[in-house]
């Protein structure tokens, strides 16, 4: 008779406390600082990503307030043009590269393994590595900015303005290397997420039963994989132009200034969808839970996500309508850009149809969903307008466009994110967020947002261009600008209330239990917060809403090792059990490899030879990270 302590796998004889104890030993990490530095738990890494991204969000927000104060009065002398140009460049750079993409990655890293019912993310060490690189890149560019070497050529760094001749010094080099940092991090995360989603879904979770959030992350991750190489290429060429005097973008030597724009926007436009597709995923999950029914027309929703992902790669030229490319070719990009209205419109319809056919509970996350619909549709409408060549030639590079993309990005991504943080906060912390502060925060954020950005449509149509550090008094723009400034402060107060609610609820929030909203997806099955191993037994899924089916009783399978980190791999389409796969243990090497890589990247800003000499420590740390394990896993027969 084998005692439970000796059983190598979970099963009828190994359950409950004993199983929890043994899994905690296997999947836990060392206590203290060492454990903190070496952890590869996706939930811990995600929490770091999330806190860091929210910190950068607040930094970027402070920059926005500084710009709004400057623009509240004409010919304001508050901020000099050089500083202002750095501020708006850093605002865009921070929000796009250091907040929006990483915060969505953070949510995905946390939620996807739980939602698909697995114990860990694929390539957890790469995950840890990606976080350290992202942190290093963000800290580097912010230190550079504070030392007055922040980028001043915009977040889009058009050449030749960002080239060696018109942007001397190291400012643009720091920007380009920041892109390198974040793109390595984003690519790593995208690969992990695709692998997790495709190969680690719980048995029975076939593709057509996947939660819509997981679908949105799958599409997003694939878009990252296809679009990031374009900006990697572009920023690599820019660095070469600046550092070793290549002439990729130098028209006088046969290069092309437009090449940069093509490459940048081939990445830059999908980037926008990389930011808001996860937002759409949040909206689907929240709508499902608070309407207590599946989202209407699931196949149409999935098709819409896929179509958005595909179309995203066919409309980068709508950022370049004024550059004088062949005029007839523009028609294609107009049609493709407007076509985005189709999948977006279908999704909006399906969410409202879900609400129509149910009795939606008006909790705070649901309010953010309503705010999202009301706001995002306006951004979509102005998006249809700027897709039209004759309209865009007037509207392009004015405050109308500033209004447009803040409606899509704040309305389409930040509102759902705030809803999602409220919604999943109990899962991440075990406590509920305060409802009264949540309502106050929502009201201020919603009103402040519209007060800030609605007037920008009009001031743009009155001829105010973007990226100006000031404007003359005679233009009649100051009234609307002042309104925007007031709105920006209301919005900021709303976000502070939200942040205060986060901080207070962390200590004092009501205890949540595993499934406080009575939601249907798998992440609500384990305790809140989930144990390091996520699931005591791997769940088996028989439908779209596993926690609602069969009166909330979830079916489990057993047979994974408890004394070794082991995952169940399933087939890509049907999710039938396929393989058992070991999962890596905590280690310091991802951190050391990230430090070595950081050294290489920063050194190479000052000396091209860094690429040669700096790769030696990188190679050493990577080699030790990937050193093959000598221990053979114990062989023993498995009964599936």
């Amino acid at each position: 008779m084998t005692r439970p302590e000796d059983l190598p796998r979970d099963g009828p004889a190994l359950q409950g406390e004993e199983l929890h104890r043994r899994l905690s030993v296997t999947w836990g990490r060392a206590p203290g600082l060492w454990g903190w530095l070496t952890t590869v738990d996706h939930k811990e890494v995600a929490r770091r990503y999330l806190i860091t991204a929210l910190a950068f969000f607040s930094f970027g927000g402070v920059l926005a307030l500084m710009m709004r104060v400057q623009l509240a009065t004409p010919e304001s002398g508050l901020i000099d043009p050089d500083r202002y140009n750095q501020i708006f460049s850093m605002h865009g750079t921070t929000m796009m590269f250091l907040f929006a993409v990483p915060v969505m990655e953070a949510m995905a890293i946390y939620l996807v393994p739980l939602m698909v019912g697995t114990r860990a993310i694929a390539f957890p060490r790469l995950n840890a590595f990606s976080y350290w690189l992202y942190l290093a890149g963000g800290v580097m560019i912010w230190i550079a900015f504070i030392l007055n070497v922040g980028p001043e050529a915009g977040w889009f760094t058009y050449v030749p303005l960002a080239g060696p001749e018109y942007s001397p010094g190291k400012r643009t080099d720091f920007w380009a290397q920041m892109v390198t940092f974040t793109e390595v991090a984003a690519l790593a995360v995208a690969v992990e997420l695709v692998a997790t989603i495709v190969k680690q879904r719980a048995p029975g979770m076939s593709l057509d039963r996947m939660p819509l959030f997981v679908w949105s992350i799958l599409v997003t991750a694939l878009m990252v994989i296809f679009s990031m190489p374009a900006v990697a290429l572009a920023s690599g060429m820019l660095i070469s132009d600046r550092l070793v005097a290549t002439h990729f973008f130098n028209a006088a030597e046969g290069g092309s200034a437009l090449l940069w724009q093509h490459l940048f926007w081939f990445f830059g436009h999908p980037e926008v969808y990389i930011i808001f597709l996860p937002g759409l995923g949040f909206v689907s999950q929240i709508t499902e839970t608070f309407c207590r029914r599946r989202v209407f027309a699931y196949p149409a929703m999935v098709a819409a996500l896929l179509l958005t992902g595909l179309l995203a790669f066919g409309l980068w030229v709508h950022h370049m309508f004024a550059t004088g490319l062949p005029r007839l070719g523009y028609a294609f990009y107009t049609a493709a850009s407007m076509a985005i209205a189709l999948p977006s419109g279908v999704q909006i319809f399906c969410w409202i149809a879900t609400m129509w056919e149910s009795r939606p509970r008006l909790e705070v996350p649901m309010l953010y969903v309503i705010g999202f619909i009301v706001t995002f549709v306006i951004g979509g409408i102005t998006g249809v307008m700027v897709a039209s060549v004759p309209l865009d030639l007037e509207l392009h590079d004015t405050y109308f466009v500033v209004a447009h993309f803040h409606y899509t990005l704040i309305g389409g991504a930040v509102f759902p994110l705030l809803g999602a943080l409220t919604y999943w906060f109990p899962k991440m912390t075990g406590r509920m967020m305060g409802k009264r502060m949540g309502l106050t925060g929502f009201a201020l954020v919603f009103l402040g947002f519209h007060l800030t950005f609605m007037p920008m449509h009009f001031v743009g149509m009155m001829g105010m261009p973007r990226r100006v550090y000031t404007y003359p008094a005679s233009m009649g723009w100051e009234g609307l600008n002042r309104l925007s400034t007031v709105g920006a402060f209301v919005l900021a107060i709303g976000l502070l209330v939200f942040a205060g609610n986060l901080a207070l609820s962390l200590r004092r929030g009501r205890l949540a239990g595993p499934n406080p909203w009575n939601a249907a997806s798998l992440e609500w099955a384990p305790a809140s917060p989930p144990p390091p191993y996520n699931f005591a037994h791997i769940p088996v899924v028989g439908g779209h809403t596993p926690l609602w089916d069969d009166h909330g009783r979830l079916t489990y399978m057993s047979g994974l090792r408890v004394d070794d980190r082991e995952l169940l791999l399933t087939t890509a389409i049907d999710a039938t059990p396929d393989l058992r796969e070991p999962s890596p243990t905590p280690t310091i090497w991802p951190l050391l490899a990230a430090l070595a890589t950081t050294g290489l990247f920063i050194w190479s800003i000052f000396d091209p030879w860094a690429v040669v000499w700096g790769s030696i420590p990188v190679a050493i740390t990577l080699t030790l990270w990937f050193w093959p394990k000598s221990r053979e896993p114990a062989t023993e027969p498995v009964i599936e």
């Binding site: 189709l342 008006l362 549709v377 030639l393 590079d397």
Partner: protein, 324 residues
């Protein structure tokens, strides 16, 4: 509908200023207004539907099965979006073709504009070299005559944009772009660089004066003349100082030895409405302020501060102020 549009635009933008895209002084801006109205109608209907549908979902009391109307409604909504965007795409395309053909019947006025950090060089082209005219930061156009502008950049990318006339077109180093304008109404307009071009992107404006053909011809003839000789002793002293200092390495004054080409042509500088590309109004006070400290009102621009005494400054101001 065409009558309704200016009202609508006025309501939308508060007031139509010299730089408003709804101003409608040129063909492009008028087409913008009409097309924008079509877009507002189609997308406004869509938004109205979304709001009603959303509101209804929360107001509705009876929750029993409402029958199977959701699926046909989704199909109808999809069809509406498809037809709507097809219509708007078609309208945009036709509008674009129409503006490309605008005024092709008559010989256009040919102008070349070169953008620099942070000013505009304007060259009126003419087959006769003696009738080629170079000026800066100000564009005079005869009403009703098509204009074909060749766009070039000497340093970084800029964008030529006079919202009241038409949409924008970039000026890109190493490339040549073109834009056609058709001014339809007499008046004063303002354009501004629309592509971020560095430190003083905010101060790179262009005054545009649309005038009757006769007044345009008179202006053209006056601009073709070399600079007038300074009449007063003070202005003569100013000229002497100007011609003997570094001013001439950047600026040209036709009829004198000043032949620099990296800064704006000053032959008739006093006839312009503003200095420093729309930064300051043209008057002796701001001229003096500008010359004494160019980095004050427009920090980062490429005009250096040149040491001079107060007497020299007033002489130079008197001279430049005489160049009408």
């Amino acid at each position: 509908m065409r009558r309704l549009m200016p009202l609508l635009a006025l309501a939308a933008s508060g007031c139509a200023g010299v730089q408003s895209m709804t101003g409608g002084a040129g063909l492009g801006s008028r087409q913008f207004n009409t097309l924008m109205l079509a877009f507002l109608i189609v997308t406004g209907l869509a938004y109205l539907f979304v709001l009603l549908f959303l509101g209804g979902a929360f107001v509705r009391r009876r929750r029993e099965n409402v029958g199977n109307f959701m699926r046909p409604l989704l199909i109808g909504w999809t069809a509406f979006i498809l037809v709507g965007i097809a219509l708007l795409t078609l309208l945009s395309f036709l509008d674009d073709r129409q503006s490309a053909l605008a005024g092709t019947g008559q010989p256009p006025l040919k102008i070349e504009i070169t953008a620099n950090q942070w000013w505009w060089q304007v060259t009126y082209q003419d087959p006769m070299a003696s009738r080629t005219l170079i000026t800066a930061n100000e564009l005079h156009l005869p009403v009703g005559r098509p204009v074909e502008i060749t766009l070039k950049a000497s340093d970084v990318i800029h964008s030529f944009w006079v919202p009241g006339l038409a949409g924008k077109q970039d000026l890109i180093p190493g490339r040549t772009n073109h834009i056609r304008l058709l001014p339809r109404r007499i008046g004063l307009l303002r354009g501004q660089c629309a592509e971020f071009c560095g430190m003083q992107h905010a101060h790179m404006a262009l005054d545009v004066i649309v005038e009757p053909p006769a007044r345009f011809a008179a202006w053209y003839a006056a601009q073709l003349r070399p600079a007038s000789r300074p009449a007063t002793a003070l202005a003569q002293a100013g000229q002497a100082w100007f011609l003997s200092h570094q001013c001439v390495t950047c600026h040209s004054i036709a009829g004198t030895t000043a032949g620099g080409r990296t800064g704006p042509d000053l032959t008739h500088v006093a006839s312009r409405r503003t200095i420093a590309a729309g930064t300051l109004p043209m008057n002796p006070g701001s001229l003096a302020g500008w010359i004494a400290n160019p980095q004050g009102p427009k920090p980062g621009n490429h005009m250096p501060t040149i040491a001079m005494s107060g007497a020299e400054l007033s002489a130079v101001v008197a001279y430049l102020g005489s160049l009408e």
